[in-house]
């Protein structure tokens, strides 16, 4: 297990023990204090950056509230025209506050996460002119969860600006929203209106929630150390020695990485959701059986859902519905086909979404390529879907027949795995040319000798296969409305504890720890 996950579970249990014995109205303070201690233990002095974010969004909210109050107070005594003028003036001032606060937060993120990348771009440009310049860069460790809490903070400010809700007046409550410890590690992203009431109002103890949360945590640990850490050994070896393997082994390596990432990432989410559930707090859903998706669009609605929702709400819709876009839309309306109208008006918002999405994942060109890969797929997907629908209509084919559904699921899985290959290379910081070599090695021949994969023995191989199978079976059952977690939580107390015990035993006996195992790095935790 990684230190951070162990710390998270430890804190989860500790907070659970304290939370319910504190009077209801002070329970949020238990969450806040534990979040601060958690952050300070893990990130030391880097805590100052999250504090800066908290201060900035707190004051941005308060100032915007004041402007809203001013408008409400003064509008009664004004004529319609004057009211409009005042409204526009207030809106401009609110926008100024919003822009300053967002820029400040983006500046912090850029300095800490992207300064090396930006410096390398400039150095590259200088080298074209035969100038050898070495730009100074800030070499600091990334504060825990900065990419997550920065986006949540920006979402909060935009919502206050739009008037969706008022800025929170209690500084400590804002601090808790930003720093709530279970979701700092790998998310999920929280939207303020859904999370804050659960954080601020003390929740009542509910034994069903407590058990269900505990079950999720334990299952998360199983996914991490029985499945993900074991797959990591194999995946690391294949990616390291790709040029010695047959292409099919490289393909296997990519597929195994996809499942490793799924096991690792969903495990971290399960631990976050589980420890919150034990406190009666429901976090956003982040996965919804992603591998049954019939298109890459659908895949991103089922994989890292909370990230997709953020980009949709704060980039895709505002850009698509901006005055400029709507004007453009009106201009071409009726002059081109409906399909082309949608295609052309989606091109820019989708580009921004995927460019930012790629950059959010990491600071290198490969991450940008990863984002743009999905952009191209989605734009192409629109064309293919349009042509496909015409084709099905012309030949009177039911597009929902089983064969076509399975074919679409297979196609999506292949496309997602190509994306995963780019993503893995980005994680390994391989150069563009080496990434291309890895991709090309898929088509290399040579003797197919699986025994050459000596890094794991037959038992590990069986566990890898069983682990992946378990993940898939659970997802397929859920897709058919059979929720195993729900069923276990609703069963009688003996069944519950026997199942819990079995999972713990599986972890102890079959966990990939001890000599020869190195826990996989938290893949999404680095963001």
């Amino acid at each position: 297990m990684n230190d951070i996950l162990t710390l998270l579970i430890l804190f989860g249990v500790l907070v659970f023990c304290i939370y319910y014995i504190v009077p209801k109205k002070h329970r949020y303070l238990v969450l806040l204090i534990s979040s601060i201690i958690f952050y300070a233990i893990y990130s030391k002095f880097m805590i100052c950056f999250i504090i800066l974010t908290i201060i900035s969004i707190y004051f941005a909210g308060i100032f915007m509230n004041k402007l809203d109050d001013k408008f409400t107070k003064e509008k009664e005594s004004l004529e319609k025209e004057q009211r409009k003028i005042l409204k526009a003036k207030i809106k401009r001032k609110k926008l100024l506050i919003l822009v300053i606060a967002i820029l400040l937060n983006i500046l912090i993120l850029t300095l800490l996460k992207y300064s090396g990348f930006i410096a390398s771009i400039f150095e590259g440009i200088f080298s074209w002119f035969n100038l050898s310049v070495k730009l100074p860069i800030l070499k600091l460790m990334l504060p825990l969860g900065i990419s997550y809490y920065t986006l949540s903070a920006i979402g909060y400010m935009i919502d206050v600006y739009r008037g969706k809700y008022r800025g929170e007046k209690n500084f400590f409550k804002v601090a808790l929203f930003v720093s709530y410890f279970p979701q700092l590690y790998e998310g999920p992203f929280a939207s303020y209106d859904k999370l804050s009431p659960q954080l601020y109002d003390g929740n009542d103890f509910d034994s069903k929630n407590a058990f269900s949360g505990l079950l999720l945590i334990v299952f998360g640990v199983l996914k991490k150390i029985v499945i993900a850490d074991r797959l990591n050994i194999l995946v690391s070896d294949i990616f390291k020695n790709y040029n010695t393997y047959n292409g099919l082994v490289v393909v296997l390596g990519v597929i195994l990485f996809t499942f490793q990432l799924y096991a690792e990432f969903s495990a971290a989410i399960d631990i976050a959701v589980g420890s919150s559930e034990m406190l009666g707090i429901k976090l956003a859903k982040n996965f919804n059986q992603p591998f049954v998706s019939q298109s890459v669009n659908e895949f991103w609605r089922r994989w890292h859902i909370s990230l997709g929702a953020w980009f949709r709400e704060y980039i895709f819709y505002p850009v698509s519905m901006s005055k400029g876009m709507m004007k453009f839309n009106k201009k071409i309306h009726g002059k081109v086909s409906k399909f082309f109208e949608l295609f052309i008006t989606s091109a820019l918002p989708l580009f921004l979404v995927w460019f930012t999405n790629g950059l959010w994942h990491g600071a290198s060109w490969l991450y940008v390529i990863y984002g743009l890969y999905y952009y191209i797929l989605m734009m192409l997907g629109m064309v293919v879907e349009n042509l496909g629908n015409k084709f099905y209509k012309k030949f009177n084919i039911n597009k929902d027949n089983k064969v076509l559904v399975y074919l679409r699921i297979f196609r999506t899985f292949v496309l997602v795995n190509i994306g995963m290959l780019i993503f893995k290379c980005a994680l390994l910081s391989t150069s563009l040319s080496e990434t291309f070599n890895i991709f090309a090695s898929i088509f290399s021949g040579g003797k197919l000798n699986l025994i050459s994969l000596k890094v794991i023995d037959i038992y590990d191989t069986i566990f890898c296969a069983l682990g992946i199978l378990t993940l898939l079976v659970i997802d397929i059952l859920k897709e058919h409305n059979i929720d195993l977690k729900e069923k276990i939580s609703n069963s009688n107390v003996y069944v519950k504890f026997i199942i819990l015990l079995i999972i713990i035993l599986v972890i102890i006996i079959f966990g990939a720890y001890g000599d020869g195992y190195i826990p996989a790095d938290p893949i999404y935790g680095g963001f």
Binding site: R162, G163, N297, Y317, M321, M326, K330, E341, T345, M382
Partner: protein, 76 residues
């Protein structure tokens, strides 16, 4: 209502929008459909739908969409 149903029918001909109550949760309307719908509504009803209104509750059924249009018309 009839005008709205016509617009919706053009976006997804296979759906009976007069009966559907869960357009977003059941993923009948995707984000692309929403953008197309918003653009059509803006043109047809001469309104300006702000991104603030793009929440599932406002698009869950034809009635909810019509209520939204009426609300924005009243605001103007």
């Amino acid at each position: 209502m009839e005008k709205l149903l016509e617009i919706l029918k053009e976006i997804k001909p296979e759906i009976d929008f007069s009966k559907e109550e869960n357009l977003i949760e059941r993923e009948i309307l995707t984000s692309f459909d929403i953008i197309r719908l918003v653009s059509e509504l803006n043109n047809e009803y001469d309104i300006e739908i702000s991104p603030l209104y793009i929440v599932p509750e406002n698009f869950k059924s034809a009635q909810a969409i019509l209520d939204l249009v009426t609300k924005i018309q009243d605001e103007d």
